[in-house]
């Protein structure tokens, strides 16, 4: 046989040969029966045989990365008098459990003792719909770094669960300009997070106004306010930093020793810790200011609904005082300004004075306006 056999074909042949066998097979069996190996193995040349054995080891490693673990087991032969190394890939380990739609929830995979039978798992209609919805959402999330995986997972689940049975929730993500360009960057960052490889990039920090080169141990990614953010240990600053992915340019991951992680992530790391931080909560923690704001009714309901600040007191007219901890004053005051009178800053006095200066600065831009009170159209 002299046909060129691709790596994908070799993997298919190897898996097809191993899967479902009840008795472990020896390496010699594999070498003789998987065509790509047999081409060299059967030549009898020791160098070729050593080379093809190394290929087999690499294939096992790469298949393991895909979630296919070919187990090495000690296998008795000669009526148990001798133990040899054998390889096995059970159906239970390989195949997706059969998803059975039922009313019950919480039941896990059935407890098959036979490892060569495909297990079943019962899902309620609600659970099945949630699983399909979840994968659809991740496919549609702008620049989702896991969209491809969500799609293939969806096809797998759809093998047992008829998607037509569950109408998709009518949801539309409006992609911000530049989303398509982010896909490759996010894919690379996601790969680097999973492999724990350092990345280097130029970062156009919005406050600095100039690009700086950063070397970062990437810990996590999150999606917030329509943007993706990277959290990582910035080796240049020797501290954890958050980077907006859209401001990253010239990204490259460390290609050396791809199978060996470059760094350890702190064991208590959770990317959620960095989520939902307001602009006024970023910065130097020693510069803390506690501000109190009165939200007039019904904006008080909105502030509660959105979790803005901490509740202090409710007044008879339904307005509510809420407290904020500020590390940066300017973004907070500009936010209050945008609420156009639904919120009133109560204190501290120096902050109120700062707001007055801000309002005066804006008013100066409109000094030529004599007749206020324009009509506001309805929603």
């Amino acid at each position: 046989m002299s046909e060129r056999i691709s790596k994908v074909q070799r993997w298919l042949d190897l898996v097809a040969y191993l899967i479902g066998r009840r008795i472990p097979v020896t390496v010699a069996d594999i070498m003789e029966n998987v065509p790509a190996y047999a081409q060299k193995w059967c030549s009898g040349d020791e160098t070729d045989q050593a080379s093809v054995r190394r290929t087999f080891e690499r294939d096992k490693d790469e298949l393991r990365e895909l979630g296919i673990t070919i187990e090495t087991v000690k296998h008795p032969i000669n009526y148990g008098l001798q133990l040899i190394d054998g390889y096995i890939l059970t159906r239970r380990a390989y195949y997706l459990p059969e998803l059975k739609l039922g009313a019950g929830t919480g039941s896990g995979a059935s407890k098959w003792t036979d490892k060569n039978r495909v297990p079943g798992i019962e899902l309620s209609e609600d659970e099945a719909q949630a699983a399909l919805d979840a994968l659809r959402r991740l496919m549609e999330l702008p620049a989702s770094p896991l969209a491809r995986e969500a799609r293939t997972a969806y096809v797998k689940l759809a093998f047992d669960i008829d998607p037509d049975r569950f109408a998709p929730a009518p949801v539309l993500y409006v992609e911000p300009p530049g989303t398509a360009a982010l896909l490759a960057v996010l894919g690379q960052l996601s790969d680097a997070i999973i492999a724990r490889k350092r990345v280097t990039f130029r970062y156009n920090g919005i406050y600095r106004g100039e690009a700086t080169t950063r070397c970062v141990a990437p810990y996590g990614l999150f999606f917030q306010h329509g943007h993706w953010y990277l959290v990582g240990h910035d080796d240049t600053r020797d501290a954890i930093r958050i980077f907006r992915v859209a401001r990253i340019e010239g990204l490259s991951a460390n290609q050396r020793a791809p199978k060996t992680p470059d760094f350890e992530v702190p064991p208590d790391f959770k990317v959620d810790t960095y989520l939902d931080k307001k602009a006024w909560n970023l910065g130097d923690r020693e510069a803390l200011i506690r501000a109190e704001v009165l939200f007039r009714y019904p904006a008080s309901l909105w502030a509660e609904r959105c979790g803005h600040g901490e509740f202090v007191e409710e007044r008879d007219d339904g307005s509510v005082v809420r407290a904020f901890e500020l590390y940066q004053v300017d973004p907070f005051l500009r936010w209050l300004l945008s609420l156009t009178g639904d919120a009133q800053l109560l204190g501290p006095p120096e902050l109120v004075a700062e707001l007055q200066r801000l309002v005066a600065g804006v008013a100066a831009l409109y000094a030529d306006v004599d007749h206020p009170a324009a009509e506001v159209c309805d929603v």
Binding site: S6, A131, P176, G226, P298
Partner: protein, 318 residues
């Protein structure tokens, strides 16, 4: 992308494609390409990997995968293994877990717990190697709060049931009660909205979800009109109301021009400032938008919008 990664992706697709196509006997190539999110050419290359195996496999050897190709269809039979998809890879399990967290982040606390439990169950049962170690590295913002209004709106939109909402319009003295038919949930600029027919206004309106402070799903159902087109309400990464819009010119100072250039993808003026023409359907949006930049953004016209900013300032200080 490395050669190994490409091979792994192709192997991954093939081990799903074989049972998928074999189950239905044959399938249209374009349909399969759409399902897998790849081009028809890539799908053909995948199928070719199966076809050329017959060149080196003696008849009847190994697992017996047979492939037939017509012009726009592919037929696959498998007499042995590959009759089901394989378990989820760790990354697929991660995608499923993150997707469920997105749904959880839009739900009330009780539903959130259910979805988190489901994520754990599916990770444990379906994945070849669980993704639990990776999930803390991926996150999404929280939109659920105590009420899970976004999840309720989604279900109402899916089931096409009207809702009674209490809506907080900025500047009003009390929430307004509206009966709406939610056609679509839209995420834009970091906020959730619903495009809904408003019974009180007799027309489609945009409602921002964080301004809905109460919601009740009604028994009454609705139909989405055949001529409803979401594209009329979105553009340039934003959501807006298409009718009654007006062009408003805003100048952003050089101090904040970087933000605007980044977001809008525009070029600054020679003095470093940025001038944009916004299509404005809701003047309140314009006021909030401009004032968030303090004195660094100024409405240049039309004059009534300058008046509006000036009058809004009067209500900010006690």
């Amino acid at each position: 992308m490395s050669k190994t990664m490409t091979a792994q992706e192709q192997f991954d697709r093939l081990t799903t494609l074989i049972p998928r196509a074999a189950r239905s006997g044959s399938a249209r190539l374009d349909e399969l390409a759409r399902e897998f999110g790849i081009s028809a050419n890539q799908l053909m290359r995948d199928v070719q990997e199966l076809v050329t195996r017959t060149h080196y496999h003696p008849a009847g050897s190994v697992e017996g995968i047979y492939v037939g190709q017509e012009q726009d269809r592919v037929s696959i039979w498998t007499t042995g293994e590959f009759h089901r998809p394989r378990r989820l890879s760790t990354r697929e399990a991660l995608a499923l877990a993150l997707g469920l967290r997105i749904l959880a982040s839009e739900s009330d606390p009780a539903r959130r717990e259910e979805l988190e439990a489901l994520a754990r169950k599916l990770d444990k049962e379906l994945a070849a190697a669980p993704a639990e170690e990776l999930t803390p590295h991926y996150g999404v913002e929280d939109h659920g709060g105590r009420t899970g209004i976004i999840a309720i709106l989604q279900e109402a939109a899916r089931e096409r049931r009207r809702c009674r909402i209490e809506y907080l319009k900025p500047g009003l003295t009390a929430p307004e009660v509206r009966v709406i038919s939610p056609y679509l949930l839209v995420y834009a600029e970091g906020n959730w909205y619903t495009l809904a027919h408003c019974g009180e206004r007799g027309a489609v309106r945009v409602f921002r979800a964080d301004r809905i402070c109460g919601i009740q799903t009604l028994e009454e159902r609705f139909e989405v009109p055949a001529d409803f087109d979401p594209a009329e309400y979105v553009g340039g990464g934003r959501i807006f109301r298409a009718e009654r819009d007006e062009e408003v010119i805003v100048r952003y100072s050089p101090a904040i021009a970087r933000w605007i250039v980044e977001r809008e993808g525009v070029q600054p003026e020679p003095d470093g400032s940025v001038v944009l023409r916004h299509r404005v359907a809701d003047p309140r949006w314009l006021v909030r938008h401009v004032l968030q930049y303090g004195a660094e953004a100024e409405v240049l016209g039309p004059p009534r919008y300058r008046e509006l900013i000036r009058s809004s300032l009067a209500s900010i200080l006690p």
